[in-house]
């Protein structure tokens, strides 16, 4: 380090004040990332709403991530039909042809989402355990919201998040055959926390155009249909899953990013 050492050195980041409930801080940071900062660590990466999205998939993926990180309340501001092509809103979210109007719409959305985030914060408050310093010196401040990779500091939510993201990635590229499709529907139970629409598979195979679009890995038009299917059918159950999932608290951030580095 090149800086001189003042008395009683502090290298802890003098960022925002922290609560004694680290999971709340983590939630708060997660929501910041959704709206302003983005999160490159996540796969696929979260692009911040304020900056717009490079393509429709990233928009869809953001919507899904926002569902998890607002306990499903993103729906109060952006309903699934808003995410449909030609709805008037989706086009504003994409950066493909960015104009001042789009920028304005996105800024308004970010502002409106603040309330939805607060609602999630209030609901989550009860579930976030309080931690204070114990005899061993383990403290709540050992959790570092910047490093924490579990949304809401709950591994269950990370699993939910990655399960949902993976399901969307699979859906995006379409399916090889009916068996692959069947397996995908089967696997939806976990990422929807068991809230999958009843008779989903029957409904799919009962609609020849939909079935064809899901099994067509080539045409652009089929991709659009799959997108509509994702927004209209899959996303609502994903949002419900985020509302209903509970999970135990556990941190994976060593926290003290500026304490001793763990060799």
């Amino acid at each position: 380090m090149t800086e001189p050492v003042p008395e009683g050195v502090t290298t802890e980041s003098e960022s925002q004040p922290r609560t004694t409930r680290p999971a709340l801080d983590v939630l708060d940071r997660d929501q910041d990332r959704l709206l302003y900062d983005g999160d490159l660590r996540r796969e696929p990466p979260i692009q911040p709403l304020g900056d717009g999205f490079d393509n429709a998939f990233l928009a869809l993926s953001w919507y899904q991530a926002a569902g998890v990180r607002t306990l499903g309340h993103v729906e109060r501001v952006i309903e699934p039909p808003d995410m449909m092509p030609m709805s008037g809103l989706l086009e504003k979210l994409l950066t493909v042809d960015d104009d001042r109007q789009s920028v304005y719409v996105r800024r308004r959305l970010v502002e409106q989402l603040d309330d939805a985030c607060d609602l999630a914060y209030r609901q989550f408050r009860e579930r976030a355990g309080e931690r204070v310093e114990d005899a061993e010196g383990e403290t709540w401040s050992d959790v570092d919201p910047d490093e924490e990779s579990n949304p809401l500091m709950r591994p269950a939510f990370r699993q939910l998040d990655s399960g949902q993201a993976a399901a969307l990635i699979d859906l995006w590229s379409g399916f090889e055959d009916r068996e692959a499709l069947g397996r995908w529907v089967r696997k939806l139970s976990a990422p929807t926390n068991g809230e999958k629409p009843e008779g989903l598979l029957d409904e799919i195979v009962g609609s020849p155009p939909l079935l064809e679009a899901l099994l067509n890995q080539r045409d652009q038009e089929a991709k659009v249909t799959r997108y509509r299917f994702a927004v209209a059918v899959v996303m609502p159950s994903f949002l419900t899953a985020a509302r209903t999932l509970n999970g135990g608290e556990r941190t994976d951030s060593s926290g003290a990013t500026h304490g001793a580095w763990n060799s």
């Binding site: 380090m1 090149t2 050492v5 009683g8 490159l40 660590r41 010196g137 580095w261 763990n262």
Partner: protein, 456 residues
């Protein structure tokens, strides 16, 4: 009167119990390239597809949270990821000031550095490295880590850990020298043993112990539990295998890249005088006690042969415990030529460093050592409750930390601050002694040397 049958049976059972404990704790890892080579089945080159010890050791050590140690390249990635997300100013000092720590433990030679600078990752010298090392090198070659790569020196490094007894020097040497360096550098480790205690026991299942040829020795395991007997054991009850050497140069022809060796000193000092041009007197030839050369003096000869003879050039780390006894302040020109030996140390170290020899020195104090070795040393590791040396101490240069920094960051055992010139970084490591459950001492003795010393 002889003991009754049942009491003999009972003591036999208790001995068995001790041996059983040792065998469970120190079950040797016999699948690696180094293990198979020393088992003698195949030549070194024919074993080139087998994994090295360094690729598995870190998995066998647990972090403080009970999980296995993460591979080092993953730890590096998480450092640079934090820097990418929150900006470099917010990154950990280990990343911001790579010369403080990363330079000390990642060893590169100039050819490797060149390849990394030009991002020639498919070059043989990068691509053919063992996976854990290759991934560290690939990390260094990423554009975002250019500053780290620029900070890397070539050749060996030297770390000097200092503290009062019991503040974690030995565990530092075990984890950083014995676990991380073999993982990152496929380093060969030479742990220079003192006979009093075997401080490298956590690494013993991966270690070959080097024994002086033709010297009689005894090994005892003495459990701390008073109801259990002291048991005479074989070295291989604890260590993976043994290799015999006739003199220091001979050992250099027998060790292999990536091997971990615990070196027992030769009480006869064969080959040492020729190497160091200084006097060595084994106990049996001495006429008075002051003439007898301390066993630790073999370290001078090992350093000399590593520096001059070019028998072995692979990156090697030498661990010298009780360093202040080895190179004391104001060494006397006594019967053992201590002065000549100590003054020769920095010269030989300088040569050996260019040939990829690194050192981890452990000592109680830095001030009570000769200034020559102090001047040669670049990294210091200050342990908890230990005042950093004063900048006015000759051969130290700038000391960038003070006691209040130590108290804040090296606030418990298993933490320390590593520093070099203006740069410093706090680090921590897990307790390696939790790997085994045997409680007690294991000691090696040379009965003939002791008899000769008693006779004086």
């Amino acid at each position: 009167m002889s003991k009754s049958f049942s009491s003999r049976e009972k003591s036999r059972r208790k001995k068995q119990e001790v041996l059983q404990r040792l065998h469970e704790d120190f079950e040797p890892w016999e699948k690696s390239r180094q293990a198979r080579y020393h088992a003698g089945s195949k030549s070194w080159s024919r074993l080139s597809n087998v994994h090295n010890d360094g690729e598995v050791i870190f998995r066998q050590f647990e972090n403080n949270d009970g999980n296995g140690l993460k591979p080092f390249h993953k730890k590096l990635k998480s450092l640079s990821r934090t820097a990418r997300i929150s900006g470099k100013e917010e990154a950990h000092p280990v990343y911001r000031y790579p010369s403080a720590y990363l330079d000390a433990i990642i060893h590169l030679d100039d050819a490797e550095k060149w390849a990394l600078e030009e991002r020639r990752l498919d070059d043989d010298i990068i691509a053919e490295q063992p996976a854990p090392r290759r991934k560290v090198l690939e990390w260094l070659a990423r554009p975002e880590n250019e500053d780290v790569l620029m900070a890397m020196g070539d050749g060996g490094t030297d770390l000097w850990a200092h503290s009062e007894p019991g503040e974690g020097k030995t565990s530092f040497a075990n984890v950083i020298g014995g676990v991380r360096m073999p993982e990152i550098n496929n380093e060969t480790l030479l742990w220079m043993l003192t006979l009093d205690e075997l401080e490298c026991l956590p690494l013993a299942p991966f270690m070959t112990i080097a024994v002086p040829e033709g010297v009689e020795y005894e090994v005892h395991a003495k459990p701390r539990n008073p109801t259990l007997p002291t048991v005479e054991i074989e070295l291989t009850d604890v260590f993976r295998d043994t290799v015999e050497y006739s003199d220091p140069r001979d050992l250099m022809t027998k060790i292999v890249p990536g091997g971990l060796y615990a070196v027992l000193p030769d009480p006869l000092f064969r080959g040492c005088e020729q190497l160091t041009r200084a006097t060595y007197t084994p106990a049996r030839y001495a006429e008075e006690p002051a003439e007898v050369t301390p066993l630790r003096d073999v370290n001078f000869a090992f350093l000399e042969t590593r520096a001059k003879d070019d028998e072995f050039l692979h990156p090697t780390t030498m661990i010298n415990d009780e360093f202040s006894d080895l190179v004391p302040l104001n060494p006397e020109a006594d019967e053992n030529d201590t002065n000549r030996k100590v003054k020769g140390w920095p010269v030989a170290q300088g040569k050996a460093r260019k040939k990829n020899l690194s050192m981890i020195n452990l000592s109680h104090s830095i001030a009570r050592c000769d200034e020559g070795p102090r001047e040669k040393n670049r990294w210091f590791v200050t342990m908890p409750n230990t005042p950093p040396p004063a900048s006015s101490l000759s051969g130290i240069g700038n000391v960038p930390i003070n006691m209040s920094y130590i108290n804040k960051f090296a606030d418990r055992k298993g933490r320390a601050v590593i520093w070099r010139n203006d740069n410093f970084a706090p680090i921590q490591w897990p307790n390696p002694y939790r790997r085994y459950r045997f409680r007690g001492e294991i000691s090696v003795s040379y009965p003939r040397r002791e008899e000769a010393l008693d006779a004086l």
